[in-house]
């Protein structure tokens, strides 16, 4: 990259306007090995982005290492599951007046350098939630065929439900504005929440947008999704999506 031709695109930073307060929500369950590096990477990349780690009842030193790395830590008294953990982060964002919240996994598969791509549409008010997609043109994903089939099946169903093309419904790399923070602080699915949350958001009249991102191979730990759980995952999400068709959504989203 030549120094002389620095395009505005390459100069992008995560918080282009100092008045915008952004929060990174990082749910973590026994991630003591990867957390320090992930937090350091985010702080290196954008020192203005505040980081809150939601420790979902870890039995290792997740909370201590996160604090030592300079993150704010919310310690849940026991494991409440990914949905409840992430929602705690959204409640923190709402109560502390953040304008933007971005969900980042604690295992290092989400690259902080992609965060500006997620925030840009929010700052330009083109969307209320921006999801980093591995499958949108320009994204990259390597995974087992079975997982890809599941991901594509959900994508087809969700695309139908929200009447827009959605390519990656299970991506946990997403950013939201104040309106969506308020929604998710009140209403967020308890387990395997990403697919339902997307539909919920659109059904509540908010705008969702996908941007292509590259995701990395997780550095430590295993995916929480085993064979038996993936069956439960599929059935539960399909049931929730079906029932959701008959629900009326009346969550108040205007600020008091």
């Amino acid at each position: 990259m030549a120094e002389s031709i620095v395009s505005p695109k390459l100069e992008r930073r995560a918080s282009p306007r100092p008045s915008v307060r952004a929060l990174a929500i990082m749910p973590a369950f026994n991630e003591e090995d990867s957390l320090p590096r992930v937090i350091a990477e985010i702080r290196d990349f954008d020192p203005h982005l505040e980081i809150v780690v939601v420790d979902d009842g870890s039995t290792d030193r997740t909370a201590q290492v996160a604090e030592a790395a300079g993150a704010k830590v919310l310690k849940l008294p026991f494991n409440v599951g990914i949905g409840g953990a992430v929602q705690t982060g959204y409640q923190y964002a709402r109560d502390n007046g953040f304008d933007i919240a971005v969900q980042v996994d604690g295992d290092g598969q989400h690259d902080p350098r992609e965060i500006p791509r997620l925030l840009e549409p929010l700052l330009e008010d083109r969307a209320d939630m921006v999801v980093g997609s591995r499958f949108a043109p320009g994204g990259g994903y390597r995974g087992t065929p079975v997982r890809r089939i599941g991901i594509h099946l959900f994508a087809a169903i969700v695309s139908l439900l929200v009447r827009a093309r959605v390519t990656d419904t299970t991506s946990g790399f997403r950013a939201v504005n104040r309106k969506a923070i308020r929604l998710f602080a009140i209403d967020y699915p308890p387990d395997y929440p990403e697919v339902e949350a997307t539909v919920l958001l659109v059904r509540c009249g908010l705008r969702m947008l996908e941007v292509p991102v590259q995701m990395r191979v997780r550095e430590t730990g295993a995916s929480s999704i085993t064979a038996l759980r993936s069956v439960y995952y599929m059935v539960k999400v399909l049931l929730a999506l079906f029932i959701g068709l008959f629900r009326r959504y009346t969550t108040p989203l205007e600020e008091p």
Partner: protein, 122 residues
């Protein structure tokens, strides 16, 4: 062979059960994760009520001469499973409840020691 009337009533009962479960989920009084076993119960009973040949074969295989009894047994087994599942759920909840109460007591003491007035009305 199962008497036709038994099949009809069993099927109607299963459909009502399924509808009630779905309505409970819709109105958010029942979470999906706790509804799955109930839904499976309703579906199995519905299938065996309608598919009378299968119920006959099944009851023959286990030596039950009157097929509706087999339906009854299967229903009982599922109810047993649901109850057992709920017992584990209740155990988990009560453990969490204790933890929450303990954390709250410790927090309250710490707040008082730090001189912060309690705002909650008693």
């Amino acid at each position: 062979m199962t008497p036709l009337r038994v099949s009809i009533y069993a099927a109607v009962a299963a459909v009502i059960l399924l509808l009630v479960i779905l309505e409970l989920i819709r109105s958010r009084r029942l979470q999906e994760r706790y509804a799955l076993l109930w839904l499976l119960t309703g579906i199995v009973i519905l299938v065996l009520a309608l598919w009378r040949g299968a119920l006959g074969t099944l009851s023959d295989a286990v030596g039950i001469h009157y097929p509706p009894s087999a339906l009854f047994v299967i229903g009982s087994v599922f109810i047993l499973l649901v109850l057992l599942h709920y017992s584990t759920v209740i155990s988990d909840l009560s453990e969490r409840n204790t933890k929450l109460a303990q954390r709250l007591a410790l927090l309250e003491t710490r707040l008082e020691e730090e001189g912060i007035q309690e705002t909650s009305s008693r």
